[in-house]
């Protein structure tokens, strides 16, 4: 609570610095206005340490007591480095002529090629209708301001450590790591060392950083923008996100146990698990027994989702399904699907490699791209044709006909 209080007070002082209200006039009761942030409180898991490609991002927002002139100077400096702040494709970002813009050249597809994934924001769910009148729910994934930040070749890649999983040796040295960032932000929000990660690419610091393993052939130079046309309509994707935090939950909610009966002499145990183990020689609880505990907040992947529609103006993917992990407005990772019957097996089906490269001759793509069986909202109303059904002979009639022939 003390830490919270100090944080709030620092914000409070920041407000004081920016406004002209004298300090005594602002009531100290302002402290109470803290919104609770639910976090991960799993027991027995070591403290989060940043991986080697990521550095400490959050900094203490202490009172800097900047004068208006100072602020103006900082704003000018940021604008000089990254361009003036502007809204591009519906995202607040910096209108920067990128420093390290290289010409990306397309490569030929080969079996097992893995290209980069993207970071998206899950912005909501809406229904779409297919041409046969079926209603499907689609999740909207906004690929907001994605840029390539850095590439680590395979020999530099250190696989992610995990408590239980063992990294298979055969993948080591096979894939390089592409670091991708989403949503440019004011560098004053972050620590100095975090901003330093972006020096090479010449981009403003990003709100979200992610590392994707790619084939070394499919590498993209730092500063390359990634947009929704990295995917095509009808493609299949896997979407990874952090599931919604549910807190400490009982077995009924967490594991779907039935609980005990409401009546018939049951007292105070209507939602309890019941027996959790046997007696005798095995008088203990087996490891992995489903018990109450913290629920949610785990990274989960939903696989094999089809892209029904793409909005190219705002870089939004309409992906089938309403159960993509994560809360609305949270970040998710969109990968090419690794499902067996969803991955590309032939060169003719190849996705744009290493990413979509706009061609001047083609002109700008249409605002909305639809998969062939999706109904567009500006199409006429769906009607069904009256078809004269042919008279189908029943088994009895056929038998009769056959019988008459035999005679």
């Amino acid at each position: 609570m003390a830490a919270l209080r100090s944080r709030v007070l620092s914000v409070f002082q920041g407000i004081h610095a920016s406004s002209k209200i004298p300090l005594p006039l602002l009531d100290v009761r302002f402290e109470v206005c803290v919104t609770q942030v639910r976090g991960n409180r799993f027991l027995g898991i070591p403290k989060f340490r940043h991986p080697y490609w990521h550095l400490r991002k959050d900094r203490a927002h202490y009172a800097e007591n900047l004068t208006p002139e100072n602020k103006e100077f900082i704003r000018e400096t940021i604008a000089k480095d990254y361009g003036p702040p502007s809204v591009i494709s519906g995202v607040q970002t910096y209108d920067s002529p990128l420093k390290n813009i290289h010409k990306v050249e397309s490569i030929e597809w080969f079996p097992g090629v893995r290209r980069t994934s993207t970071i998206a924001k899950k912005i909501g769910i809406q229904p779409l209708w297919l041409k046969d009148g079926t209603r499907v729910m689609a999740s909207l994934l906004h690929i907001a301001d994605n840029h390539v930040i850095r590439y680590n070749p395979p020999e530099q890649v250190i696989p992610m450590r995990h408590r239980k999983k063992v990294v298979p040796q055969k993948t080591l040295g096979k894939f390089g790591a592409l670091i991708v960032g989403a949503e440019s932000a004011d560098p004053q929000e972050f620590t100095k060392e975090y901003c330093g990660l972006f020096k090479e690419s010449g981009l403003p610091p990003k709100r979200k950083l992610a590392r994707f393993l790619i084939s070394p052939q499919a590498v993209l130079p730092a500063g390359t923008p990634l947009n929704a046309l990295h995917y095509r309509v009808g493609d299949y994707v896997d979407v990874t996100g952090q599931t919604i935090q549910r807190g400490f939950q009982g077995v009924m909610k967490r594991w779907g146990f039935k609980g005990l009966r409401a009546t018939h002499g049951v007292t105070k145990s209507h939602r309890r698990p019941g027996n959790i183990g046997a007696g005798g020689n095995k008088a203990r609880v087996w490891p992995g027994k489903k018990m109450p505990g913290f629920m949610g907040g785990r990274y989960r992947t939903l696989r094999g989702l089809q892209i029904l529609r793409i909005n190219t103006e705002y870089n939004v993917l309409y992906v089938i399904g309403q159960n993509i992990p994560g809360q609305i407005n949270s970040y998710v990772y969109v990968h090419d699907s690794l499902c067996r019957h969803r991955w590309v097996t032939e060169a003719k089906d190849a996705r744009p490699l290493p990413t979509y490269i706009p061609k001047d001759s083609e002109g700008s793509p249409p605002e909305n791209l639809y998969a062939p069986d999706v109904h567009r909202f500006d199409d006429p109303t769906i009607t069904f044709e009256i078809v004269d059904t042919p008279v189908v002979r029943t088994g009895a009639k056929i038998a009769k006909a056959k019988g008459s022939k035999a005679k």
Partner: protein, 313 residues
Amino acid sequence: MAFYIGRLGFGPELRLLGCKTMRCLGADSRNVVTSPAMFLPRSTTMDSKAEGSAEKRVGAKKLSKGTSPLSIDSPTADLNMRYKYPEMFPEPFMIWRNPLKEKLERKDMLSRRSRIYIPEFYVGSVLRVTLSNFHQPDKTSTFVGICIQREECGLKATFILRNVIDNLGVEIKLELYDPRLQKIEVLRLERRLDTHLRYLRDCPPEYSTFPLDMKAEIRRTDEVPLNRMKVRLNPRPWTEWWHKYDYKGIENLTEHISDKMKKRRQILAKPWEKYDLMKTYRATLPEEDMAEILEEIKEDVENHEQKHKRRGA
């Protein structure tokens, strides 16, 4: 939709609506207590019988002076339009909102509206709906019924039509933006005393019986009339616990409930909730946001209405 919230009190209605359709009211929290009349659409008829509380009198005075209860310093957009297009406003729950998604959704809604005329209607209006249906011999089906509920925002918006056919209550839940909808006709345009009329399920069939060949009634004014009809409930068992909430449109509720239920009704009553400014704030959209949305859709919607009028003439 929920025009009478200001007069009925927020508690039961909010819970019934799942805090969803309230959003379309867009009441400014400051105005809620002082002017219940702001919830009325264009026909600003006040309830002459029930002038009990002080707020009502304030509202009546305001109206009699001819001042607009809606926009004191709001932008020029005609905020009365909000009652016509309730589904254009976003969901109420803050953490589900995203401006970009709402914008894209509105675009889709308008492009669907360019293909079908979705008229203004309220809970209590009688509609005829024509729908493409693969399983019918002529591939279309038609239904006439009274709208007993409107729910959800955006493309998910739905409404329920109810009718009694061959002594059997029939209900059909339709989506407003379903591309299989061929035509929506309003046969009788009126409002009722409650935000939903689901209690018609437990009423005698005469309240929800409409002939399938019903003809559209001629409208003499632009105003939407308010039908003050009160219905009589059948004895229990009911489909829902109607005694838990305060419905204006039920006449004989106390006849059917036991003493225990009466006590329960008293316990559940929350007369103070209409003064809960935070609750109103959370359940409604600020006027400025609403004006912005209306400004965005205004041109398309007006063009569309004019097009329809010309076609009708």
